[in-house]
Symmetry: C2
Subunit: 302 residues, 2 copies
Amino acid sequence: MKVLVTGASGFVGRYVLECLLAQGQEVLALASHANALPHDKQVEWVQADLLDPMQTTSLMQSVKPQALIHLAWFAKHGLFWQAADNFDWCSATAHLLHAFHTAGGKKIVIAGTCAEYDWTQGVLCEDSTPTHASSVYGKCKDVTRQYVQQYCQENGLDWVWGRVFFPYGPGEPAMKFIPSVLHALAQSQPVACSHGQQLRDYLHVSDVASALVHLLLHTQTKGVFNIGSGQATRLMDMVNICTKAFDSPSPVHFGAVKVSADEPPVILADTSKLQATGWQPAVSLQDGLAAYAEFVKRPAAC
Amino acid sequence: MKVLVTGASGFVGRYVLECLLAQGQEVLALASHANALPHDKQVEWVQADLLDPMQTTSLMQSVKPQALIHLAWFAKHGLFWQAADNFDWCSATAHLLHAFHTAGGKKIVIAGTCAEYDWTQGVLCEDSTPTHASSVYGKCKDVTRQYVQQYCQENGLDWVWGRVFFPYGPGEPAMKFIPSVLHALAQSQPVACSHGQQLRDYLHVSDVASALVHLLLHTQTKGVFNIGSGQATRLMDMVNICTKAFDSPSPVHFGAVKVSADEPPVILADTSKLQATGWQPAVSLQDGLAAYAEFVKRPAAC
């Protein structure tokens, strides 16, 4: 099947490409800028700026993909939570969906986020937890999901909205939690953390990718799916796993970083709906973090 | 004070212009198309397409208003609830706000909607009722409010977000509830209604305008304000007031139109916050509907 992947040069995108190739699909990878196009023999890279509806329409008319995995969004670390750019990506997604459908596309998988949920609820379930985002980002993803659902129902498209929880792994932005811990340890610098008691649902990025591809290729069920491990991990425990990957780790100061009063104690995916499709994660947290630490230790990784 | 009004040729916009002029303000009225510009000696009309950020920036740099009443939004009857155009108006509002601030603007009043609220709550209060819109329109207005609030707080702008409930009066789209009833009566046609037991908060459009202008000119309080009457009126009672304006009214069939299972029984504004600013409505429902009926009876009104 000819599958177009947006956001293909991004963190999750690169793993999605690998996963699609491993399953023998014809993969078209989209990047927004020509100079972001990697050289890759197995993947055909195409270039278009999805914020320009004309480019989106032209792309779809020339490529005519049967399936679409849409990962592209504004993702600048620290800024994306409240930026007006989120509004542009709501529009861009609506244009993309229409252009895909008009060009004959049949099934779309879109990356949503656990930030669409009301985080005071702790354990988050697709069909019973209200979506009540606190951020502009979460609200924009949520209203885009509503639009996509309605458009696909009216136009007979298959659709999956995958609410991604906390992905980790090589390639993620260096300022995020786990890479910042690993890089400090690799440079023998002290690690400043919050109290570390928060429970979060982390999933290795290769498993996030395999879940998205599984939902595209191997399920008939439409709708919203949580993409997580279903396991709550204490941040302190994750840091301790990281330190074990180093022979003489630098000290970790829990409590050195203050958390805001509304920091949610628990953000955990109910993954029963996802697992009922037959998907299982392949990478344990122990193995994923150990391999990630080895990746960071390599001189080229900095 | 130099006040720019967007959506000035729309339903509420025309009443806002009148109200600003009556209070001696210097009024600039914005329309999106040159052929929509009315001839008016008291108001200076300007033209720009707010969906084009370049035009928005140019407009603000040439006009440099001190205050802004932003009413423009996608409003096509029947379509606006779920359309992707709502996303474009989120972006347009963010651009407008930034261009206004950059050009030296100080205070902004923006039209929100009661559709931002969770309608299962009945009586809706700015500070205690959760915003939990069911429509794309309501969700987009809500996330735009969040963005505006944050932008204005960070940049020191005065801001008011007026959640407009159910405005009525001459000039509203003919397919809405009250004009459709009045036009049927004026043409001696039978009137098909739902059961008519719904309670809604209707406010004459001239009072909606006076509230928005009052919040611009006469209050220091920033934030969200409900714009409603604070009175719940049964739709059946409104129809019966309408029929009294006709000598031999055509029959009204309550129950002829089915309502959806999730039709909210009550949508009522808590207006204590608005009324605490000293604003009061001037037009009673009886007087407003009687005058509206006379307007519809005039041959030119069709």
